[in-house]
Amino acid sequence: MTNAVTNVVAELIPHFEGYVYPNEATQQPLWSILIVLYPYITGLVAGAFIMASLVRVFNVKALEPVYRLSMLTAFAFLLCAPLPLLFHLGHPERCFEVMMTPHLTSPMAIFGFVYAWYLMAVLLLELWFDYRRDFVEWSEVTPGFRGTLYRLFTVGVTDVSDPALKLDFKIGHILSVVGIPSAFLLHGYVGFIFGSVKANPWWGNALMPIIFIMSAMVSGIALCVFNYMVLSWVRRKALDMKCLDVMCMFLFYALVVDAAIEGLDWIHRIYSAEEGFQVIQYMAREKLFYTLSLGQVTLGTLVPLLLLGSLQLLRRRVPDLIRRRMYFASGALILLGVLAMRWNVVIGGQTFSKSLRGVMTYKMEFAGLEGWYMGAALLLLPFIILTVFVKIFLSEKLPSTAPLEPHPAHAR
């Protein structure tokens, strides 16, 4: 029965058009929606971290209200970053082996090193040194399980004297400085996985890591805007408009650079028009029209550029309410646009024939391991984890030190 039904469905859609090798005519792409989500989630981590480091390293005071939220966002999403890969492998009982046997002979196996470095050496350490003082104070005033949890997080160090806090701040600063190249490494590495496939004209491109890093920054800042606005709305708290303005200013400039680099990539492809160009042109016009022209370029880039750009010029004349709505719309559109960009890269690179004279069709599963449900669940999971983190680490009931309160001697 199932066989009969699936065969009917399979026959309804044309599998391929043009000149396609026989083995390509029947196969589905090897890398499906889960591999679309992998660079997307990793990019959000890198972007949110870079957003947080604007406060630490570049001393942008206006962004302090979102420093901890962005760090926690990066943490929650980083925990979920390897999940799409592990699910895609289809052997959850062996999932730890990728962590047990990292090595340098394949780009995918380097992941163990990159991930461990970024999670353990950068993100967790920076969060800990930032929160240490709060953990000590919270563990004293919170009873029950929560108090025990905070006591556990202090690792038994209760020294919150001035010199100790000064040292915390200094170490946090150093970690943040180390963290920026690490975030670039993490996401540049993801771009490298695609860019190093030289047989594929859609991927094989030295600009790929840079495009990935820039779009990661854009999507990460957009996610922080989105999270900050949603969190304030849930908590019925007034938004710090100055913080939001500055955040969206950085979002705008990151988007300008991102759009410029991606535009440069396209200009280069169009002008040099190498042998694979015809099929790339066909993909952009027909196969990927909705996700590329509409999703990535129009809704994900041009509309936010227009919205954010006009606000850069007319910020003072636009009332707060309308400005907030425009910011929210831009953030949400950019998040969708970058997801569309990942889709275009991953799925686009696999739906044209190696003959460069024909295209295949990707039909996404609905409820399967690589289907809609799975994709939605994987996108929702980091938000659920983030909610738990926000409840524990950004609790409204607990007195929090102003995020990043450097020792007076250190303040600039």
Binding site: V155, A164, L167
Partner: protein
Amino acid sequence: MSRLFRMPPQVFRIFLLALGIVVVYSIARYFLTPDSFGEYGWYRGEALAELAKREPVYAGKAACAECHSDEYQALVKHEHKTLSCESCHGTGQAHADNPDVKMEMLNYGHCVRCHQASPSRPKWLKQIASKAHYAGSKCTECHVPHSPTEVP
């Protein structure tokens, strides 16, 4: 040792914690790395033996011919002689071991796997556009798969 203890307490604790993680990881790595990992390359060497041990599901043409000699004789005289029985009829080891187990007869979608028109196929291979070529009827109403040049 006394100099080590003069480290700031938070740095010392984190250092200890990191050391603990490295030790736990090393122990975990010792026990959790598959035994045969790295024997031939960066994968479990045992995987090769495990794959080789899997029960075959295809019986092969000779096994079919033992009982179905009429069909076999018809097949080898015509164009489809190079095809394996199981390409169209599905896997047959279970049926060969025990004739009571029925074969899963696959549907007619299998004809167009080779005969659907495509510029990438050689010219001598008979090709049709399945939507235009008597759409809706079964291939076997007009064609005999075992002896394609005959008319039913």
